[in-house]
């Protein structure tokens, strides 16, 4: 990103902190590897120069807002992250008055890992049609002309659907077998804010303590289902998975179904009722017909 745009982020953060409009700005700083980004909480105006923005700023910072309910907070968001803000607003988890949103026009982020900056853009950026945040108070960069959606957007989902049920079951059994149930996918997700997750419930214990493929499958299936119509596509869950389970396939599958069946995309605004919280009396969904 152009240095003057990064400077705009810093200036805005300084202004927000100095004026007392917020007591913290959540943005990106440099990680200890010296090459990638990490979340940075800035409380003092003197420290705004630690803020950065570049193609390694993959983190979705919106989840942190739930921890700061009732506190005035500035936040740097990419377009995909901004959709998560709408999801949280729609669900009454945060108050619009509490957040000052510094939206950044985004050209995509790259695959990163510890001490590693990839060449290629993340897959989700390659089919992104939202380069300007959907909600913001201040915009950094110029709004873009968006390309139209394409059939290729859900190519990976279609490829999986083309396989036989046995192949699919075998594929997922192998993926779920690697899961060690660290729940990093849940913890990183801005839409996973339940105070008690179904998987932690003891009575009844829906998901057994045993880390085994069929128990893990309950976790992953219900996780994906709970995010249907709510996942804003930031794909942080897949990034943080230590054993590379392709969670985006599940999330994208849900996103495409919700789009096909109900014409809905998560987080485009904060008003429209999510499809699983709504209905139309005469719709035909192939259920009980």
């Amino acid at each position: 990103m152009a240095p003057e745009l990064v400077q705009q982020i810093r200036d805005k953060a300084r202004e927000l902190l100095t004026s007392g409009a917020v007591d913290c700005v959540i943005g990106y700083g440099r990680a200890t590897d010296g090459v990638t980004a990490r979340p940075l909480f800035v409380y003092e105006p003197e420290k705004v120069d630690e803020l950065i923005f570049d193609e390694t700023c993959t983190h979705n910072l919106v989840g942190y807002l739930v921890n700061r309910k009732g506190k005035k907070t500035g936040i740097v968001v990419k377009p995909c992250d901004s959709r998560a803000i709408n999801v949280l607003l729609n669900e009454g988890q945060i108050s619009r008055d509490d957040v000052s949103i510094i939206g950044v026009v985004c050209d995509g982020v790259v695959e990163t890992g510890w001490n590693r900056v990839g060449e290629a853009q993340q897959a989700r950026c390659q089919y992104c049609h939202q380069h300007t945040p959907v909600v913001y108070d201040f915009l950094i960069g110029e709004p873009r002309e968006e390309s139209p959606p394409s059939a290729e957007d859900y190519a990976a989902v279609a490829e999986m659907e083309a396989k036989s049920p046995e192949e699919r079951e075998a594929f997922w059994a192998e993926q779920f077998d690697r899961c060690c149930r660290c729940y990093a996918c849940r913890q990183v997700c801005p839409a996973c804010y339940c105070t008690e997750c179904f998987v932690d419930k003891l009575d009844p214990m829906w998901v057994g303590i045993r880390v085994a493929p069929e128990e893990n499958r309950i976790w992953h299936t219900i996780r994906a289902y709970h995010l249907a119509g709510r996942c804003s596509g930031c794909n942080e869950c897949e990034r943080v998975c230590p054993v590379n389970i392709p969670l985006s396939l599940l999330n994208r599958k849900m996103a495409r179904d919700v789009e096909d069946l109900f014409g809905f995309q998560a987080g485009l605004d904060d008003k429209e009722m999510q499809p699983l919280g709504a209905f139309e009396k005469d719709e035909k969904l192939g259920i009980g017909e």
Binding site: P165, P213, R217, T221, A228, L250, K253, F279, G286, G288
Partner: protein, 141 residues
């Protein structure tokens, strides 16, 4: 893959107001239907959290039936409309992870439809027999 003598294990979540009464009607009218279904009475088809469905499959069910009031007749006015959307999405997800979506059946059965209830169980059982037992894919050595 038909298996000789295979009797499928089915779990049925029946809405208290329509379908459970429909099953009752089938019983009191002495209509016959296969006995391999375990019936769980729920207040409304809208109560059937997909967690219950996947849990039933994990615990060894070959098929899961959800039956509720016909659209428009819900005791709670709109519970089955929500159920319809959820189950449409969830069934598609089950199919995606390799659980044949024919193993999850949703039917609207009213309190007066004892005959229909018995037909539903019979046809679902036939279908599950045709599909054969659900065998879990074994992972690793």
């Amino acid at each position: 893959m038909a298996v000789e003598g295979f009797s499928p294990r089915m779990v049925g979540f029946l809405c208290n107001w329509c379908s459970y009464a429909g099953a009752d009607m089938a019983g009191t009218s002495r209509m016959s239907y296969p006995a391999n279904i375990r019936i769980i009475r729920v207040p409304c088809s809208g109560r059937v959290d997909p967690l219950l469905i996947i849990k039933a499959f994990q615990q060894g069910a070959d098929g899961v039936l959800i039956a509720g009031c016909h659209p428009g007749d819900c005791h709670y006015v709109e519970g089955n409309y929500y159920a319809r959307r959820r189950l449409a999405i969830f069934r598609s997800l089950l199919e995606f992870i390799g659980i044949d979506s024919r193993r999850l059946r949703v039917e609207w059965v009213s309190a007066a439809e004892g005959k229909r209830f018995s037909n539903v169980i019979t046809s679902f059982t036939d279908e599950l027999v045709k599909l054969g037992p659900r065998s879990e894919v074994q992972v690793g050595a």
